[in-house]
């Protein structure tokens, strides 16, 4: 059992379950008193209400038992076993993780992936910004890289040897914003999962059980229980399935990048002391400072990387979230109430 499950289990059994038992007992007492009062007053409406709510309370508690069963299963199954069953290759290391840990790991890795895409684009944008502003002055009457035209003044022609990178920078800027949004979105999904695994939705359970039996509050109570079931079962389950796809989705085998180059902040050269060298050795030397060795100039690759990151870190987690929301709708219907989720859907 991983740390997530250990903490979660501790939170449930020491915090939520006593509260659930407490609210259930109070609810049972209220129902019992209502039934007694109904009998004493010979009020069939009250006794019928008491019987109905007693059944609903049993359904609520059964829902919680089902949820705990799923959670126990998820904390026991290892993701490697799941991969074996579906005949999928094991996603590198971490096959002994439980499903909750696998879900969390997928989102963490997706953040790494999105960040690397962002880095690749930023590297190109910075390099192009610098190269665009590089100017050369060619004196008239040249002799090699020297010229007589500048002997007593400045006579010659100035021009940017690398020209403009407007087209490439226009394209890269679009995907820089996309990659940034991708990173923030997957962080958002990760925070939702962390809050879920931190036990947030479990607070809903005792209130849900209580509210479902209160007049006019059954819809609200059903929603609370559905939220707990959906976010504790379906959301992590979907993400753990995505974890099984990590080799394809996140290029896990290739160090979480589809590119052969690794662009990060440390790759930029230090220029102190190189100014003279640059002025004497020409524009090719300057460009080689940015795109050299393993840092191949690959703006299309960077764009493709950002597009891949969008699919892996926004599109598919959104599908997981939609499946979760679909389950909320279905479970509330199962618990006897219908809710309109169209507003919540807009949050995705």
């Amino acid at each position: 059992m991983t740390e997530v499950c250990t903490e979660l289990s501790k939170f449930i059994w020491e915090g939520v379950m006593p509260l659930t038992a407490y609210t259930s007992v109070i609810l049972a007492a209220i129902i019992g008193v209502s039934y007694a009062v109904g009998n004493a007053l010979s009020n069939p409406k009250l006794t019928l209400w008491s019987k109905t709510e007693a059944v609903q309370m049993v359904i609520s508690i059964a829902s919680v038992v089902v949820l705990l069963g799923f959670m126990n299963l998820f904390c026991t199954i290892q993701v490697g076993e799941l991969a074996t069953i579906f005949s999928k290759p094991l996603p590198g290391a971490g096959n002994d993780m439980d499903l909750y840990a696998a879900a969390d790991t997928y989102l963490v890795n997706a953040q790494t992936y999105a960040y690397k895409a962002l880095s690749a684009i930023r590297y190109h944008l910075e390099a192009y910004s610098v190269l665009s502003s590089f100017n050369e002055f060619q004196c008239d009457f040249p002799i090699g890289r020297f010229a007589l035209g500048c002997l007593f003044g400045n006579s010659g022609q100035g021009f940017p040897p690398f020209g403009g990178y407007g087209a490439l920078m226009g394209a890269l800027n679009v995907f820089f914003n996309t990659a940034l949004m991708t990173l923030f979105t997957v962080m958002n999904f990760s925070m939702i999962l962390s809050a879920t695994l931190g036990g947030l939705v479990f607070i809903f359970i005792p209130f849900g059980i209580f509210m479902r039996s209160m007049p006019f509050m059954r819809t609200f109570g059903s929603l609370l229980i559905s939220l707990a079931i959906s976010f504790m079962v379906v959301y992590p389950l979907m993400l753990s399935v995505l974890y099984l796809m990590s080799d394809t989705l996140l290029d896990a085998k290739n160090g979480f990048t589809p590119l052969s180059s690794v662009y990060n902040e440390n790759n930029f050269p230090q220029y102190e002391g190189n100014a003279l060298g640059q002025s004497m050795m020409g524009e090719d030397y300057t460009k080689a400072q940015y795109f050299y060795g393993g840092n191949e100039e690959n703006p299309v690759g960077a764009i493709v990387f950002a597009a891949y990151a969008f699919v892996s870190a926004v599109f598919l987690p959104s599908v997981a979230m939609l499946a979760t929301l679909a389950t909320i709708g279905y479970t509330t219907r199962l618990l006897g109430e219908e809710i309109d989720l169209s507003r919540i859907m807009q949050l995705v």
Binding site: E81, P160, G166, A167, G301, S318, A323
Partner: protein, 397 residues
């Protein structure tokens, strides 16, 4: 735990070779689970359990119908999709529609990468010409002038074209990634997973949704790509598209000879693993910054774009025709101003070729395919009993 899980699934899916077998095993597993529930209900005389098993059995029948429809559709669409006569030469040698769609996307991505290289080349050349400045002084007495400012007006449209082209590359790449997921996981993992989830009451909504996602990705995504490519190919062969068929690159010389002006397309190291060598069709005239005086040749006005277009559109279909030659044939190239205007008109002719590839293949295609997938998810999830509002994902389009 493994044993428990295997017991739960009863039959491991590991030995199944194809997705059809995996789906069949998942269906059988679901049926066995329901049988167990019904048996327990009968054994302990629990009517609720028996009723539950019966209800779930009807749902399982609905799933079986969905899978049967899927198998039938898959075979028919496969047969159509891999026919080069219908789907284009790039699908030659493919055996499934997913492979055909992947070959089509690779072909589009290679073209777009080449176009980006050519566009970037023009952008560089025009920026260099536009930023040239001349200076003449002796002992700090003299003058400096930027006589090529006219060229700088050509850069903004090129930047905009670059953004559009980059966006198209991103869209096509996202489609490639989705297709890779479809090929590798939708039938082998998502479908059986969805079938199993759909067997359980609490997770039926999610199960139906996952089945819908799996089927839509497997069938409709590649179908959408191929369908759009067929439409584009049809349009390309039609006379109405003549104005858009302007070639932006010349053929690369056989035998790897490097032609003058040949540039290497920006590398797409992802999946394709190749670099494309392209030869731009247009030369950018050189600007001399100290030649800043406007045209001194009277009586040669700069022609309007319409007259250039009329003169050019018939000859530009030849890949070896340099648009600048066409433009230079109807206007003076004596001054920097004329050269800048000629560059603008020449690139204006070529921009149609860029837009043809970027908008039809790279933007419209993915939009059509994704809309088909969204519509499919909505329809299939409704058929599976869990209608999901996919407007959230549709907004990505």
């Amino acid at each position: 735990m493994k044993k428990l899980l295997l017991l739960l699934l009863l039959i491991p899916l590991a030995f199944a070779a194809s997705w059809q077998e995996i789906a069949a095993i998942a269906l059988v597993t679901s049926a066995i689970l329901l049988g167990i529930i019904y048996g327990v209900g009968s054994g302990f005389n629990i009517n609720e359990l028996q009723a539950l098993a019966k209800e779930e059995a009807f749902q399982l029948i609905a799933t079986v119908v969905l899978v049967v429809v899927l198998v039938g559709s898959d075979s028919i669409i496969n047969a159509i999709s891999v026919n080069p006569q219908l789907a284009g030469e790039q699908v030659t040698g493919t055996s499934t529609m997913q492979e055909a769609a992947n070959a089509t996307l690779n072909s589009i991505l290679t073209d777009l990468s080449g176009e980006m290289a050519v566009l970037s080349y023009y952008d560089h050349r025009v920026a260099i010409e536009g930023s040239k400045s001349g200076q003449c002084n002796v002992l700090q007495v003299g003058y400096g002038v930027s006589g090529c400012g006219g060229f700088s007006l050509v850069n903004p449209p090129l930047s905009l074209a670059g953004s559009i082209l980059g966006f198209s590359i991103g869209e096509v790449s996202a489609m490639k990634r989705l297709l890779a997921i479809s090929v590798e996981f939708s039938m082998q993992l998502l479908l059986p997973f969805g079938i199993l989830l759909r067997t359980l009451k609490f997770t039926r909504g999610a199960g139906g949704f996952i089945i819908a996602v799996a089927i839509s990705l497997h069938l409709l995504l590649p179908a959408g790509v191929l369908f759009n490519n067929m439409l584009v190919s049809e349009f390309r062969s039609n006379e109405a598209s003549a104005e858009y068929r302007i070639p932006i690159t010349k053929p690369v010389a056989a035998g790897g000879i490097r032609l003058p002006g040949m540039i290497t397309a920006l590398p797409v190291n992802i999946d394709l693993g190749t670099k494309t060598e392209v030869v731009p069709t247009m030369t950018i005239p050189e600007c001399t910054p100290l030649d800043a005086i406007p045209s001194l040749i009277p009586g040669i006005p700069i022609p309007g774009p319409a007259s250039i277009w009329e003169g050019a559109k018939t000859v530009l279909e030849d890949v070896n025709t340099d648009p600048m030659t066409v433009v230079a044939g109807v206007m003076s190239m004596e001054t920097n101003e004329d050269r800048a205007a000629a560059t603008y008109f020449g690139l204006r002719l070529l921009i149609r070729g860029f837009l043809f590839g970027a908008l039809l293949n790279g933007t419209l295609g993915p939009v059509i395919a994704l809309l088909m997938v969204m519509a499919g998810i909505r329809a299939f999830s409704a058929a599976a009993g869990a209608e999901v509002d996919v407007s959230a994902i549709a907004r990505f389009v």
